[in-house]
Each structure stands twice: as structure tokens, then as C-alpha cells.
């Protein structure tokens, strides 16, 4: 096995966006991005968790995966909200956490913020795009 490599990241705070574009089931992307988001919280970076295209279905209320025989992981998004609240309450760390949904994607699927398990900011495509342009790192699937 190769040896561990460590980079010096002390004191660096970047803008990370986790871009969710895929439906929650059918592929593993949604679940594995969620795992990425939860691990990233320990690094205290500016974090935007973003949902567009079929990705908005990931946070739809009332998911029932029983017939699929798969684990319903939507309750895990509650941890994302907790991380956001922790970041907002932590006065020692100036860190921005946002949860955003692209308005056009949401509306095209007949959804409104009340249908979602997370308290989200709804951004029109142009603003969503502008927010993407401000990011240092965009991770998604």
C-alpha cells in the first residue's frame, strides 16, 4: 500500500458546492454525494448543498422505498440541516452554509418548498448559475 500523503490546508476556507442532479434512486449518485457532504462538514469550508434537475426529488417529503427493497436515506438529509445550523451558531468560525434549489427544476416537477424535507432557498436559474460561478470546488453526480 502506498504511503499516506497529507497536504497543508490549515486556515484555508474555500467555497464548496455539492451539486445534486440525479433522482434519489435508480443510481447511487444521490446517496454517495450525501456521504461526501457529511464527511466534508468536519473541514469547516463554506458549503452550498444544491439541488437541480431530478436532484430535487432527493429531498421530496414522504419517500417510501419499501417496494424497491432499498434503504430510504432521505432522513439523512436532516443531518445536513443540523450541520447548517451548527455552522450558523458557531461564533468562532465564519463559515457560510446554504441549501439551495433551482426554481425552474422544482417548478417543472410540480413541487414547491412545502413539499421538501429541507428548508431551502429557491433560486432562479440565473442566480443559481451566478452562485456556481462563485465556487472554488463543485462536486456532484
Amino acid at each position: 500500500m502506498s504511503e499516506e500523503v497529507v497536504f497543508d490546508t490549515e486556515g484555508v476556507r474555500k467555497n464548496f458546492m455539492f451539486l445534486n442532479r440525479k433522482a434519489p434512486y435508480g443510481t447511487i449518485y444521490a446517496l454517495e454525494i450525501l456521504e461526501m457532504i457529511l464527511i466534508s462538514a468536519a473541514f469547516e469550508q463554506n458549503t452550498t448543498v444544491a439541488f437541480m434537475d431530478d436532484g430535487v426529488y432527493q429531498i421530496k417529503k414522504g419517500q417510501n422505498t419499501k417496494a424497491l427493497g432499498m434503504k430510504n436515506f432521505s432522513p439523512m438529509y436532516g443531518v445536513v440541516e443540523m450541520e447548517k445550523e451548527d455552522a450558523e451558531e458557531d461564533e468562532d468560525v465564519e463559515m457560510v452554509w446554504r441549501i439551495v434549489v433551482e426554481q425552474e427544476s422544482m417548478e417543472a416537477r410540480g413541487l414547491s418548498p412545502e413539499d421538501l424535507v429541507l428548508d431551502v432557498e429557491v433560486l432562479p436559474a440565473a442566480e443559481f448559475g451566478a452562485l456556481m460561478a462563485q465556487q472554488d470546488v463543485i462536486l456532484g453526480g
Binding site: 500500500m1 502506498s2 504511503e3 499516506e4 500523503v5 497529507v6 497536504f7 497543508d8 490546508t9 484555508v12 474555500k14 464548496f16 447511487i28 449518485y29 454517495e32 456521504e35 461526501m36 464527511i39 466534508s40 468536519a42 473541514f43 469550508q45 472554488d136 470546488v137 463543485i138 462536486l139 456532484g140 453526480g141
Partner: protein, 119 residues
Amino acid sequence: MKFGILVNEGPFTHQASDSAYQFAKAAIEKGHEVLRVFFYYDGVNNANKLSEPQSDDRNLVKLWGELGKEHNIDLVVCIAAALRRGIKQDVLADGFRISGLGQLIEVGIAADRTVVFGD
């Protein structure tokens, strides 16, 4: 410039890993540095030493390992994604190591650019 690379697909179904490999090679040839390549999702299959493509085709598992060794690139396979897909120490190809998702976030912070390959 210092690059971090994320490979999100395996070596065959998608071209993503080929593109990432070509990108890494080209970047190094132009004098840039690739700090780390992180393999996630089905990308962990790029580290499976049991993979045996036909002899007249490229062997990405080997190519990644060689590129990593030659240019001192840290090739990291995500442990959570790997265990799901049966990639463990005993099938890990030369030049790769298994570690956690924190390694992806770390290189995202350390690199000037993080480039993602996948669908």
C-alpha cells in the same frame, strides 16, 4: 498549477477515467502538478488489479498505477465506495491506496483547481 482530480466512473462503461488519465498526463507534460487523484462511485474499479482487459486494448488500472509512480501522484480510492464494490486491500493494484472521503475534501482545499470526470 496544482490540480486535484476526481474520477467518478469505472474504467470501461464510461470514458471518464480515460479522459481523466489523458488530462493528468497532459497537465504534467505542460509542467503542472497533479497532487492527488481521488476515485469515487464506480471509479473505485480503476484500482482493481484483477481487471484483465483484452491484450490489444489499454489497461487503465496499470496506466494509472504507472503514472502515479512516475510522477508521485497520490492515487486514493474511497473506502466506503470501495467496500460496497468489493475493492479491498487484497485486490488493490500497485500505486493506489485506500482511504476516506476526507482525502477528496483535503485536495479540494489544497489544489488550485479540482477537476471532476464523470457523468
